[in-house]
Amino acid sequence: ENREAMLNSKSNRLTEALEEANRLFDGVCRAREAALDAQFLVIASNIGKEKANELHSEMSAFDSTAFAEDLLTFMGINRTEVEDSDDSEDVPGGFLPSDAWQTMGKEASKYFRRAPTLHYMMGSFRSEPPVPKQRIERQKKASRGKAERAMPAQLKKMEESHQEATEKEVERILRILQTHFENDPNTPISFFDFVIDPNSFARTVENVFHVSFLIRDGLAKIKLDEDDLPIIEPIKPSEGGEEDSRAGARNQVVISLDQKQWK
C-alpha cells in the first residue's frame, strides 16, 4: 500500500517507515514477526531502488494524454460521431476507421530495421523436409499449412507435364483448324486471322509459335492466296505420305511481327 506515495521524491515516508520498523524489531520475539520484518525489508529496498532510479531519470515532462490524442488523429479518428457501444465508457468519443492500425503500421515500419521474412513460393517438395523446417511448419497457422500442402501436389503435376504443355497447345490449335475446315472445307483461313489475338500481343506470338510446330510436323500448310496473303489449312492424313517425299519442297520462312504492326 501507499507504494506510490513512498515513491514521491519529495516524501520522506520511506525513511520514516524504516525507522519505525527498526523500533518494532526490538519487540520481536516470534519467528513469524521476524519473517514479516524480512518481507518488509525486501519491499523497502525495492522502493529505495526505484526512488534512486527516479532521481537519475529526470526526463522532460511528457504528456502521454496529448500523445494518445495525436496518435488517434494520425490513425484517422472521426470525432464527430459518438459511439454508443460499451467501448467508449470513459474514453472520449470518436470512431476509429477499420484501417486505423494499418495506417499506423505503415508509418511504424519506417522506423525499424526489420529483416523481411523468407517464405517459399511453392512450399517444400520433399516428402521428408529437414527437421528444423518441419518444426517451423508445425508452428505455422493451419490455413497457411494447408495451402503449402496443396502446393507440392500441384507443382509435381506441372513438372511432369512441362514437356507436354507445348504439345497439348499444338494439338489444341490443330483441332481448332480442323474443326473450322470440317465446317467449311473450301475456305482456307487467313493465317493472320488465325493467329492474331486482338487483345494480347504475347498470345499472338505464342500462337505463331504453336502453328510453326504444325507446319514442321506436316500437319498443316501455309499457302499464298490470290492476294499474296498467307492462308493456312490442315493437311489430311492421307496426304501425309506424299508430303514426306516432297520434303525438298518445304520452305523456311521467317515472319517478323512487332507490336506496332500487330496493333
Binding site: 511528457f62 492500425w101 494499418q102 503500421g105 511504424a108 530495421r113
Partner: protein, 225 residues
C-alpha cells in the same frame, strides 16, 4: 554447410524469435562443430552480401542470434505483411511511451485495489490512474488487457508474451507487489532494430514539434548515436 546455415537462419527468422546457437549446431553444423565459428562467420557474410541482412548476437551468454535489415531504408512500401505491420505500429507506440517516460515503465495489468485506509492524504497525482502506467495509456487508444481487440486479439498476450519472446520488449515482474506489477523496458531486438533518436523523431512528428522540445530525451538520444 554455409549455405545450409544461411537457409536455416532465414527460415528460422520467420517468427522473429531469436535463434539459439544450440539449434544451429544440432540441425545444421552437426559433426563439423570444430569449424563452427568459421561457418557462422561465412554465413554472416553471405547474409550481408546477398540479402543485406546482419546476423547479430544479442545474448553472448546464452548465444542467441537475430537477423536485422542492414539496407538503408527505402521510401515507399515495405515488405511487411498486413498483420505484421499492425503489430509494428503498436510496438512503436509502446517503445515510444517507454522511452519518453524514462526508459522504464511500471504497470499492473490488473486494476489496483483501492487503498484501505490512507495513513495520510496522498497528493492527487499519486492516486489511480497512475501517471506512468502503460495499460492506462493504451486504454486511451481503445486497447484493454482483458478484452479481445478487433485487430490485435489478445493484446495482453501479444505484448507480454509475443513481443517478449521476440526480444522487442523486456517485462520483469516486480516481487511482492499487490496487485502484481511488472517493469516494461526495451528489449535487445528493439535496441538493434531502431534507435532512441528514431523513436523521438516519431513522437515529434506525431505531435508537430521539434525533437529538441524534450530536452533530456533528446540529449539521451543524441548520446546514444
Amino acid at each position: 554447410q554455409v549455405n545450409e546455415l544461411v537457409m536455416f537462419l532465414l527460415v528460422k527468422d520467420q517468427k522473429k524469435i531469436p535463434i539459439k546457437r544450440a539449434d544451429m549446431l544440432k540441425y545444421v553444423i552437426r559433426e563439423h562443430r570444430d569449424a563452427y565459428a568459421e561457418i557462422v562467420d561465412q554465413a554472416g557474410r553471405t547474409l550481408q552480401q546477398v540479402f543485406g541482412l546482419q546476423l547479430v548476437e544479442i545474448d553472448t551468454k546464452r548465444h542467441l542470434y537475430i537477423l536485422i535489415n542492414n539496407l538503408p531504408r527505402a521510401e515507399g512500401e515495405h515488405l511487411c505483411r498486413g498483420k505484421e505491420k499492425e503489430k509494428m505500429g503498436l510496438l512503436l507506440i509502446i517503445l515510444s511511451f517507454i522511452f519518453m517516460k524514462g526508459n522504464s515503465v511500471k504497470d499492473s495489468e490488473f486494476s489496483p485495489k483501492p487503498p484501505r485506509t490512507p495513513l495520510f492524504h496522498a497528493p492527487r497525482s499519486l492516486t489511480p490512474p497512475f501517471p506512468g502506467a502503460l495499460w492506462e495509456f493504451l486504454h486511451l487508444l481503445r486497447i484493454h488487457p482483458g478484452r479481445q481487440h478487433r485487430v490485435f486479439g489478445d493484446v495482453r498476450k501479444l505484448v507480454t508474451e509475443e513481443f517478449v519472446q521476440q526480444k522487442y520488449l523486456e517485462v520483469t515482474p516486480i516481487p511482492l507487489t499487490d496487485p502484481p506489477e511488472s517493469k516494461y523496458q526495451w528489449g535487445p531486438r528493439a535496441e538493434k532494430e531502431t534507435t532512441k533518436m528514431d523513436v523521438l523523431k516519431f513522437v515529434a512528428k506525431l505531435q508537430g514539434k521539434d525533437p529538441t522540445f524534450w530536452a533530456s530525451q533528446h540529449a539521451e538520444a543524441a548520446a546514444e548515436a
